[in-house]
Symmetry: C2
Subunit: 121 residues, 2 copies
């Protein structure tokens, strides 16, 4: 099944704790943060990237207008999260043709990327 | 419903893109990264924290043993993600008694916290 899952439809109430996942969270800082075409290109590229079949779940976002606090980093341009079932599935993704194409076509847009990989496995 | 959701059971195959969410991702750096009791205390605290009712989905993890690359930050101790339906639900969480208790009881454990809030709303 492919599709958009509104969070509020996916989980009706209460506490849902995801387990058995490798979470790959990437933050991009655009060279030209105010350039709407660059932002659109990156978002379009990410929407292609999430078609890699080992990605079980994903989220693509922009900085939220939450409270300005010292510990909160709102400076990035785009947030991208991919959930995998395992480290092995993330390894497949890293060298997947769709991923390589994404990097080749879009890496000129950003000057900084930070990646956090975390797991409960 | 409260419970643990193995990622592989939650989504059977293909592309699931979460929408309508505010994603609150927090990274903790412990004062004593090798202290297993401190790590356990923080993980236990987070497992209480995710009971805040406005949290729709969560993930608690440790750095994954993914490839060492310049862009990948494996230096943190604990990763914690909470998914909310809205900025308003995240605001409720910030001042929720369970959250205030978590900070009061555990903030002595860490020397650095970085928070990223992102949204597709």
């Amino acid at each position: 099944m492919a599709g958009l899952i509104p969070l509020s439809n996916q989980v009706s109430a209460g506490e849902i704790k995801i387990t058995g996942a490798l979470v790959h969270h990437v933050f991009f800082w655009l060279n030209e943060p105010e350039n709407k075409e660059h932002l659109k290109q990156l978002l379009d590229g990410l929407n292609q990237l999430i078609k890699v079949e080992t990605i079980k779940m994903s989220h693509i976002g922009l900085p939220a207008s939450t409270e300005e606090r010292d510990v909160v980093d709102h400076s990035y341009s785009v947030s991208y999260i991919a959930f995998f079932d395992s480290k092995e599935d993330q390894d497949i993704y890293q060298t997947h043709p769709i991923h390589l194409k994404f990097v080749e076509e879009n890496s000129n847009l950003w000057n900084k990327v930070v990646v956090y990989d975390s797991t409960d496995i």
